[in-house]
């Protein structure tokens, strides 16, 4: 699956690229409007991540061009401009998501994956991770085919974990994913902990392996290792 990252800040682009590559995506980078335009005309991408402020133009132009070229490509705008007008404009001209800088890489990955799922299967999808199965349309979780009722936050958490499997996640990134950025209280980190505890307990009770590993001082990692 090919992804194009249009971002003029090379370091950031590189980080996004290396993160996505680990999940098996094939990343290409464009640092200017011109090179981005050239690339979208030459190749087909599953998903394009585009920054609005490029040295030689506004990313909105790329979004519009992309919509004409290939309607199935998912588009995520990343921008330092948090203006609601920009957000609305981006969504209006055909981008699928809008993420404001600074963001957590894990959040971007989760959004990319969710977007690709939506594009490919129209939301009618099941995610399977070993014995855990998530039915996206019904928001149901099964462990070894037994229904495992989860609260809304626990469900979101599990989905986020699976989208970022084998990636270390910071507590802050998890808290922000669950509550958005209007929670800046240190207490929310403790709540993350209690949600994770409950999620683990519920999954293990139904016979799943404990895939959540806490990383001392940093956060959590979901995966086999």
């Amino acid at each position: 699956m090919k992804i194009l990252i249009i971002e003029d800040e090379k370091g950031l682009s590189e980080s996004i690229c290396s993160h996505l590559s680990k999940d098996g995506f094939l990343c290409e980078q464009a640092f200017t409007y011109a090179s981005a335009e050239e690339k979208i005309n030459l190749y087909q991408y599953e998903c394009v991540i585009v920054d609005i402020n490029l040295p030689d133009g506004l990313g909105f132009g790329i979004v519009e061009a992309l919509k004409k070229l290939s309607a199935t490509t998912g588009i995520i705008i990343i921008s330092a401009r948090n203006a609601i007008e920009d957000k609305l404009k981006g969504l209006e001209i055909g981008s699928d998501d809008y993420l404001t800088k600074p963001f957590h890489l894990s959040e971007l990955i989760a959004r990319v994956k969710s977007l690709i799922r939506r594009k490919n299967f129209g939301g009618e999808t099941e995610i399977v991770f070993n014995e855990i199965k998530i039915n996206m349309s019904r928001r149901m979780v099964y462990v070894n085919d037994t229904e495992t009722p989860l609260s809304r936050k626990e469900y979101d958490l599990l989905l986020y974990f699976i989208s970022n499997k084998e990636h270390a996640l910071t507590k802050e990134a998890i808290a922000e994913h669950l509550w958005g950025d209007n929670i800046d209280s240190a207490d929310s980190l403790d709540i993350v902990y209690s949600h994770i505890k409950n999620l683990r307990r519920k999954l293990v009770e139904k016979g799943a392996k404990d895939y959540v590993h806490s990383i001392y001082g940093i956060g959590y990692k979901f995966g086999e290792h």
């Binding site: 800040e9 980080s15 890489l105 802050e172 929670i183 240190a186 207490d187 001082g217």
Partner: protein, 420 residues
């Protein structure tokens, strides 16, 4: 004291002093003239008397029938002086005392010396003086009041451009990007004043704009580097076998960059509200909004074992941007959680004219007046110090006011329509 009152008072004070001294001088001059006249006549009467006495040798009381006109008594004492003095005479016909002037002198009639007093009534002249003085006073009062009104009128007219400028400068708001429009004046000084005002306002506006742009640009430009730090930290934590020391360092970097990102976002939000970049305005029903927010934050309440009381005693609706209304409530509720004690209470009261959020918590530690300023932090660590500044900015932008007060061991923040 108002300028007009002050000048009027000065004018009245000076005028009264001057008018009174004129009146006094006038009175004395008239009196002097009257006396002079009376005394001349007394002199001539003395001459008549003396010539009569020298030709006839003596004086008959009867030859001068006007009562008390001339009196003479035998006197052992005598000198050559003539003395004028004021006296009163009893008028038998009118039964009253009449103010008079008398001339006293001594002369020899036959073998003996006599003291002679010739009198003249001052009644006529007194009346004259009285009428003159009162007429003059009346005219003075009239003149004074006419002058007073004319002066007030003139002052008011002359100072009108000044008051006009004053009221315009008073109602001028720096945050609204409007020109200061002063009406031109024909008076040189006021024209100069207006010019200076214009210059000053333009300069202040420019400075203010620069400062605002600086804050905005700085926060804006910081977003990308912060995003980069975050991304790099996230990459870094993927590596295995990190030592404890490394983990600690990463944690510190992560916390700091998260803080920077929250601060810049807060500052950006503040400048956006200030710049009126939230154009949508809707009637927001705070009853629903509060209920929704309380529900959303339930986990946080529970986590800190907070008892939440919600009293809905009215309906509060306000024209405001819905996103900002959301932020307003979120910040206030977050605040009441953050600065609360474990097991404390939060009491939310909604009335017809606003709402009040009260929470238990430690003493403020800072001056309540500065509570709504940027970067004022209480004891709670990890806060950006912008939450309440944002609350205030939102309130200011939409005609609300936020007040802090402490009552019954609770910290209250009350949001209500701003009183004009």
């Amino acid at each position: 004291m108002k300028l007009l009152t002050k000048t009027t008072l000065y004018y009245l004070g000076f005028s009264i002093v001057i008018y009174l001294s004129i009146a006094l001088a006038f009175y004395y001059v008239t009196e002097y003239l009257v006396y002079e006249d009376v005394e001349t006549r007394l002199h001539s009467e003395k001459k008549d008397f003396m010539s009569f006495v020298s030709s006839n040798g003596l004086w008959y009381r009867s030859c001068y029938f006007v009562q008390n006109k001339i009196e003479f008594h035998a006197s052992a004492y005598h000198d050559d002086k003539e003395v004028f003095s004021d006296t009163t005479l009893y008028d038998k016909n009118n039964k009253q005392l009449i103010p008079s002037r008398q001339l006293v002198f001594y002369t020899k009639l036959g073998p003996d010396y006599y003291k002679i007093s010739i009198r003249k009534s001052l009644l006529e002249s007194d009346k004259l003086l009285k009428y003159l003085t009162s007429t003059m006073l009346a005219f003075m009062v009239l003149g004074l009041s006419v002058m007073y009104f004319v002066l007030r009128r003139i002052s008011r007219r002359v100072w009108r451009p000044f008051y006009d400028t004053l009221s315009k400068v008073k109602s001028f708001k720096l945050t609204k990007e409007q020109e200061l429009e002063l009406s031109p004046s024909t008076i040189h000084e006021f024209e100069e004043l207006n010019e200076v005002m214009h210059k000053m306002v333009r300069k202040t506006q420019k400075d203010y704009k620069n400062l605002k742009e600086f804050t905005q640009n700085a926060s804006h430009e910081m977003q990308t580097p912060v995003a980069l730090i975050n991304a790099r930290v996230e990459e870094l934590i993927q590596s295995k076998n990190l030592t404890d020391k490394q983990v600690y360092l990463i944690q510190e970097i992560n916390n700091s960059s998260n803080r920077i990102s929250r601060i810049t976002q807060g500052l950006l939000l503040l400048s956006k509200i200030e710049n009126r970049q939230f154009s949508t305005i809707k009637e927001v029903y705070f009853n629903t909004l509060l209920r929704k927010k309380i529900e959303e934050l339930e986990e946080l309440f529970m986590h800190k074992e907070l008892k939440v009381e919600y009293h809905e005693e009215g309906d509060f609706e306000w024209l405001i941007n819905p996103d900002l209304a959301d932020i307003l409530i979120t910040n206030l509720l977050n605040n009441s959680i953050k600065h609360n004690i474990t097991g404390g209470t939060i009491s939310i009261t909604l009335l017809d004219d606003g709402f009040d959020i009260a929470n238990t918590g430690e003493s403020l530690g800072i001056d309540p007046k500065t509570l709504f300023q940027r970067f004022r932090k209480g004891k709670a660590s990890g806060s950006t110090g912008l939450g309440l500044a944002i609350v205030k900015q939102i309130c200011d932008a939409y005609g609300l006011q936020a007040e802090y007060y402490y009552q019954d061991n609770l910290h209250h923040i009350k949001i209500s329509p701003a009183s004009l």
